[in-house]
């Protein structure tokens, strides 16, 4: 079962032509036709990589999307806003607005995060309230515990 899952993960990863910095964006229930991807591009830095003082990588989030619904078709909404969200959904940080097909919406430095685009009442919304239009998982989200693998049976229990 887990082996099959790992194989599926590998197959998915192998379809990515440009490495680990791509996030596939999947549609929310209210916007089934929307689709897209995000690219994580290192933020500007005088060094070879951009990191925070505590070592978290800093990326600009570049979103390319298609078939995005007009926010007003989903309710009393006027903007699409991108958020970085902690895996346990307790932290939502506004990245920026999504308009048009491609936009660099802001910088993220979370180790693992969900990328969520919601419809909101205004472009300046600082809390998420509206329906999810697109969502995805950071590449680092594929980092999973080894201890669930059959090879470790007898060690992890």
């Amino acid at each position: 079962m887990i082996g099959a899952l790992a194989a599926a993960v590998l197959a998915l990863a192998s379809r990515d032509p440009e490495g680990p910095y791509r996030i596939v964006l999947l549609p929310g229930a209210r916007a089934p036709g929307a689709h897209g991807e995000a690219r994580l591009v290192f933020a500007a830095s005088p060094f070879g990589v951009a990191v925070t003082a505590d070592g978290r990588h800093r990326y600009n989030v570049r979103i390319s999307a298609a078939n995005l619904p007009a926010p007003a078709t989903l309710g009393p909404y006027h903007a699409l806003v991108a958020w970085e969200v902690s895996p346990d959904l307790t932290e939502w940080h506004r990245l920026g607005t999504v308009s048009g097909d491609t936009a660099t919406v802001g910088e993220t430095s979370m180790n693992k995060f969900l990328l969520v685009i919601t419809a909101e009442a205004t472009a300046g919304s600082t809390t998420h309230t509206g329906p999810i239009v697109l969502h995805g998982t950071s590449p680092s989200g594929w980092l999973q515990t080894f201890l669930t693998h059959p090879l470790f049976r007898g060690i992890s229990q």
Binding site: A13, P20, F42, V51, G55, R56, F146
Partner: protein, 560 residues
Amino acid sequence: MIRRTACALGLFAAAAGPLQAQDSTSMAGMQGMQMGAAASMPIPMPAGMMILPALAGLLPPVAPFLPGIGVDRSMLAATTPTTIVRLRNGDTLDLTATLVSRNIRGKAFVMYGFNGQIPGPLIRVAQHATITVRFHNHIDLPSSVHWHGLRLDNRDDGVPGLTQHEVPPGGDYTYTVRFPDAGIYWYHPHVREDIEQAMGLYGSMLVDSPDSDYYSPANSEQSLMLGDLMINADTLIPFGREAPDFALMGRVGNIPLVNGEPDWSLTVKRGQVVRFFFTDVASSRTWNVSFPGVAMKVVASDQSRFEREESVASVVLAPAERYVIEARFDRPGRFPLVNAIQAINHYKGEFEAVVDTLGWVTVDSSPATPDYAASFTHLRANAAVSADIARYRQYFSRPPDKQLTLTVAVTALPLFTVQFMSIDTAYFHPVEWVDGMPDMNWLSTASQVRWIIRDDATGKENDAIDWQVKRGDVIKLRIYNDPKSFHPMQHPIHLHGQRMLVVARDGVPTANLVWKDTVLIPVGSTVDLLIDASNPGDWMLHCHIAEHLGSGMMTTMHVR
């Protein structure tokens, strides 16, 4: 892969006798390697991690090696503090590599030193000077000296097999070393760097510009060479005699060192501006260092100043890179120098913050004189650097002249390693800041792991690439670090004898340029380099992770 069979025991037994120089340190470990159960495998594991039972009975298929085999350690001189050797144009320096006794936290080890020092003498010269260095090899391995980052004459580059023969134990070699560019450089052997450099053979070269205003004013200057050492239970972990071990990740030591010491310290006055010359001399470790709570700005890197100084929160250095940092300690107290990174815990599948304290700066309450607060706050633009680069801008956007891909091929690794890695391939961090699986990594040697630089146009790899360049050409080189290999990893790629600009990363143009000789390429990234191929000769291009170099990751650019 060798299990604890008679064969493996034979290898260790053969080495056990001559290892008397390490008798009180390594023999216990060697005994552990021979006789011990899984728990005694001498590889230090990260806190909270266990050696996997599936790997515990395995040993790398190489004989162990440590410096000083057959030598009585009590006959060796202890290392002496690093000296600053100021040389003028035409001067001569004798540089002798010897066995030394090095004390680390109360425990003596047999290591290597230049002129009895770790780091070796700091050579300070004026820009455009030329000196003669008479190298004497008194260690137990062949050696050489590479003058890292200098655009010197090819015959003095110190690369056995390309520009000279190895200098045998007891042999000598004379180098003519010239210094065309101001800044911080370093010297190290180009023979088995995984052993010789890790055991202490490295030193700085500080080249002063004739322009007294080259840097902003500072009250003092410090050269900090960042390295590490792998010790377990007071034992140096042996190296592979026939080939490097730790070939997948490189050897990431568990004891961070600043200037060869685990407990570096500095005392300054309040308000003092210190110019730090950072050099990463580790085999494999990339650092993210800072003085929390202390303002810093980055001024220069490998071969020049930046176009513009920038305030920075931390300094990222890959092996062989240098950065010149100015810091102002504006209030009394003790301030740590830390390496702060996000490690990957593969067992939990999570990131974990790790902070290593490398040393302390004690700031007195007495004020520094002069007070350089005003000049420190000002971020200078270096018009001369931009002017020098201006004539190369016409080449920035043109298609690459050559494209290389970085990857790896493996054979005959333990089945468990292959299985684990196949799971791990779902995600690779752009930079592996620590070795999260030293038990697995230790077992990989250069006989099983082949790191590859591949020419996209011809498919040729490593030393089979025949790259001919006309002197004076400006070459655009695109390098892609393939994330889909068995074990993708960042690579600090170093080009000898020339200078280059990193003009773009992942398609994003570089906003603030600096002349480099070493470039960090994260997993999955693409860098565009512009090489000023002005220096004739045969020049190496290679990964500066010592074990990757030892596993074949090198090629040569011939400038005619």
